[in-house]
């Protein structure tokens, strides 16, 4: 029960309270660039949600299996060459950035190939966005957030498990979709407005983003309220 509540709070926080775009500013480039039409924005959001979940799965597995001190795989391999204590103390977390970006780039490549082969219709709707996603900060940001909850946690019970990691990533992607779809809806209406010339395009998008961020600030504190109400 506590676990389910924890998952729910992580989901709520990632999707609304600390929205990836409007609170952490990751994924701003597609937020400004691909938010002209609602369909395109929705396709981009779906593609990001899809890739971010896969990337979270991969990066969580690599972090716990290989990178952290005492990880099963690395200490097993090192056990052939080193005495047991030093094999268990091998810390590869310094490689984490390189490993994550490599994992993201290759998983995007695989997802693109797989979707093109087996789901041609899906590919025609969001396939064009897939290559762009490698350099989307939102994906790497999700991996880093998961890493910060796995590496260097003082109490081993507090380290996140796979369920929490995937929940954070999936609902972070949902939050991204919500933000970008709202933005594109507003921008479709904006085409009918008379905006001063210097503010057209990116400038007005950012200002509207600011107003949206103010609106999303209204969710602040919802998570602690729920936690207090449900855990006596």
């Amino acid at each position: 029960m506590i676990y389910l509540l924890d998952l729910m709070l992580i989901a709520l926080t990632a999707a609304l309270i600390n929205n990836f775009v409007l609170y952490y500013f990751v994924g701003i480039c597609p937020f400004v660039g691909v938010s002209r039409k609602v369909e395109m924005a929705f396709g981009m959001g779906l593609a990001v949600t899809f890739v971010i979940s896969i990337a979270a799965f991969i990066s969580w597995s690599i972090t716990t299996m290989v990178l952290i001190p005492g990880a099963p795989l690395s200490s097993f391999i090192a056990g052939f060459f080193l005495p047991e204590e030093s094999a268990a103390a091998i810390d590869l977390t310094i490689l984490s950035y390189i490993v994550y970006i490599f994992a993201i780039a290759s998983s995007v490549q695989f997802v693109e190939m797989y979707v093109r082969k087996f789901f041609p219709q899906l590919y025609s709707s969001f396939g064009v966005f897939l290559p762009l996603i490698t350099t989307n900060c939102a994906i790497l940001f999700a991996c880093l957030t998961i890493m910060s909850h796995v590496v260097g946690v003082e109490n081993p019970q507090d380290a996140w498990d796979l369920g929490r990691a995937i929940t954070l990533a999936f609902f972070g992607g949902i939050g991204f979709t919500i933000a970008i779809v709202i933005m594109s809806g507003i921008r479709e209406e904006l085409e009918l407005c008379d905006i001063p010339e210097p503010f057209q395009d990116a400038a007005i998008t950012l200002i509207i983003g600011g107003i949206l961020a103010i609106a999303f600030m209204g969710f602040t504190g919802v998570d602690s309220g729920i936690r207090e109400a449900l855990i006596p």
Binding site: I98, T135, C137, F141, E197, L206, I211, M217
Partner: protein
């Protein structure tokens, strides 16, 4: 862009005419996220400058070995290596600052600015040209970051570099140091820069 501008032209272009933030709209994540004060903004600008310079030099040195379909992967892995160095350096010598910047230092890896400069300039030009391009772009990036940070810090806290410059009676606009202030400031400054640019071009014609 003209065919192959000289090293000096590239250096000058990066600062204002092709400012990475205001003109090319690249690298917006750190621009928005770390500009709630001058100190984090300058630290971020220095880290980006270091990574951009090193990555541009390395990419330029290996440009003849690059295979077209693998180049993006090579770019990101090179950048990731230098970002790890910068991150460890900050954690060792500026621990408090590295806590403040948090995930935004590793996020330099996916900063479009650096990948774009590697793709546009470093993978085609000699080492000297690539390095001067990197320095010019870094100065432009630093200028943009500090302009936004100055507006946000002064309006949000009444202070500049942590020193109070507005009178005590100034009601702090807290919204300016919170996330929405970043969007509003950048949007308004972008409009201002566009407006000044259009006046200049009208005068020229």
């Amino acid at each position: 862009m003209a065919d192959s501008p000289t090293a000096f032209e590239r250096f000058v272009q990066g600062i204002l005419p092709e400012n990475p933030v205001y003109r090319q709209l690249l690298g917006l994540c750190p621009t928005l996220a770390v500009t709630n004060g001058m100190k984090p903004a300058l630290t971020m600008a220095c880290s980006v400058a270091f990574v951009l310079l090193c990555a541009n030099i390395v990419i330029s040195l290996i440009r003849n070995l690059l295979k077209p379909h693998l180049r993006i992967v090579v770019f990101t892995l090179t950048i990731a290596t230098f970002v790890t160095i910068a991150d460890r350096f900050l954690a060792a010598y500026l621990f408090q600052m590295s806590k403040t910047l948090g995930p935004y230092i590793p996020l330099i890896i996916v900063n479009c600015l650096i990948i774009c400069r590697c793709e546009v300039c470093a993978s085609k030009q000699s080492v000297f040209t690539a390095a001067s391009d990197a320095i010019g772009q870094s100065i432009g990036f630093g200028l943009a970051l500090s302009s936004i940070a100055a507006v946000r810090e002064i309006l949000g806290t009444g202070m500049f570099f942590g020193i109070r410059i507005l009178p005590e009676a100034w009601p702090d606009w807290v919204i300016m140091v919170l996330p929405p202030g970043a969007f509003l400031t950048l949007g308004l400054l972008l409009g201002l820069v566009n407006w000044l640019g259009s006046i200049k071009s009208r005068r020229a014609s």
